[in-house]
Amino acid sequence: MTAEYLIDAKSGDRRSLARILSAIENRSLRLDEALDVLGPVPPLPDDDWQTLAITGAPGVGKSCLLDGLLTSWAKQGLRVAVLAVDPSSPRTGGALLGDRVRMTVVDDKELNQQIYFRSVATRKASGSVPVIVEDMTKVLLSLGWEKVVIETVGAGQSEVRCAALADRIVVVEGPARGDGIQAEKAGLLELADAVLVNKSDLPGAALHADEIRESFELGIGSTPPVALTSALHGTGIDEAATVLLQLPSSGRSVRARWRERLLAFHERKILESPKLDDLLHQLAKGSIHLDEAMRLIGGFADE
């Protein structure tokens, strides 16, 4: 069944694409099995990006802003896929995936062939999100989607780690998000290749953008662009779309990003280890210690 879907997806069938992504998500299909049929992921050209993460606090307007950016890119003829990550309830495992509500571009008959939008829940038991998102991204790229945008809430660890997997990270901010000290605090902004201050129609947006710029200028290295947008009124969106398309890597947070990627890779090794179940059982029984478990999983330093 999956083999058929792979072949059909390769010839452009979207239902088959959707089913393959589910199979990847459910771990019933491995990435290498998929790529054997679909073909390799195209190489990343120098100074260009294939994957872009859009992140920021809840309610700053990420989804609406992304809708505007997608419209702008689709009008230029680009084929863009979106993986919108929303949290699953840690209690029930369920999720309400609401990002699609904001998307008008998926309803535009002229443009919606060039946009694929998929909601992804962080899930409880099936492993870490970054792993799934990374594999889904590769499937999309190998199928000829030119850009993959990962939209995440910039809140939890796994969401930040998701963002760190992307070639570029855009942080969306909004006005009234605190004073200048907030902009100085360590965190998500440090990873940004660009910052969009959305809701620029509201008072305080320009001031907040200035504070972020100042904060960047105090640091070392090149300063990422900081632009004002209003997703509500559509102002600054086309300009931001152009800036993002040509966005160089800021180079400021190379180490921090590799740290996140390394942790994601590490986590993946653990979660995909065939010994995991057995080791968890032994840990629960108390018959081994954590450091022994780590050693038995393998691939670690003091082996």
């Binding site: 979207r14 309830s89 369920g94 309400l96 699609r100 998926v106 909601s119």
Partner: protein
């Protein structure tokens, strides 16, 4: 449950009331499913595109405007036309009992009226996946007999 079901909850047509759809979406979420809510005033094509791209196993349609006899069959026809025959469709809202047989004939597997306990919708979900050929275009004549 091994993997959560992906369920699209949709509001077709010009109907501005979605309290019911949100209550159902919440109940489905709290039962451990992944629920994709479309928002208000969707066309049949928009709903089917969403079901396709999100790879949903279930589609729940809500209508309180009286246009269900027009809109629900249209969504079902489009699903079949796009080859999404295995999607299980259920509906709810203000849908008179006399109207329901025609909707079941389109492949809709349950119609829930006002006052239906949300637990009944969850029971339907559990049972519908067990029934053979319960997808909208798979030809079963099974449907859920709802309490309201």
């Amino acid at each position: 449950m091994s993997e959560p079901w992906r369920i699209v909850v949709a509001k077709p047509g010009l109907d501005g009331h979605d309290r019911g759809a949100k209550v159902v979406a919440r109940a489905l979420r709290d039962a451990g499913n992944e629920v994709i809510y479309t928002g208000l005033r969707r066309s049949a094509q928009q709903i089917v595109d969403t079901v396709r791209d999100e790879d949903a196993r279930f589609l729940g349609l809500s209508s309180l405007s009286g246009a269900h006899q027009h809109l629900f069959p249209k969504v079902c026809d489009l699903l079949k036309h796009e080859g999404l025959n295995d999607v299980i469709v259920f509906g709810g809202g203000i849908i008179p009992v006399d109207d329901r047989d025609a909707l079941f004939a389109c492949g809709i597997r349950a119609i829930f009226g006002p006052g239906t306990p949300t637990t009944e919708i969850l029971q339907f979900i559990e049972e519908a996946v067990q029934v053979e050929n319960s997808g909208v275009g798979e030809g079963s004549d099974w449907y859920w007999t709802s309490s309201a």
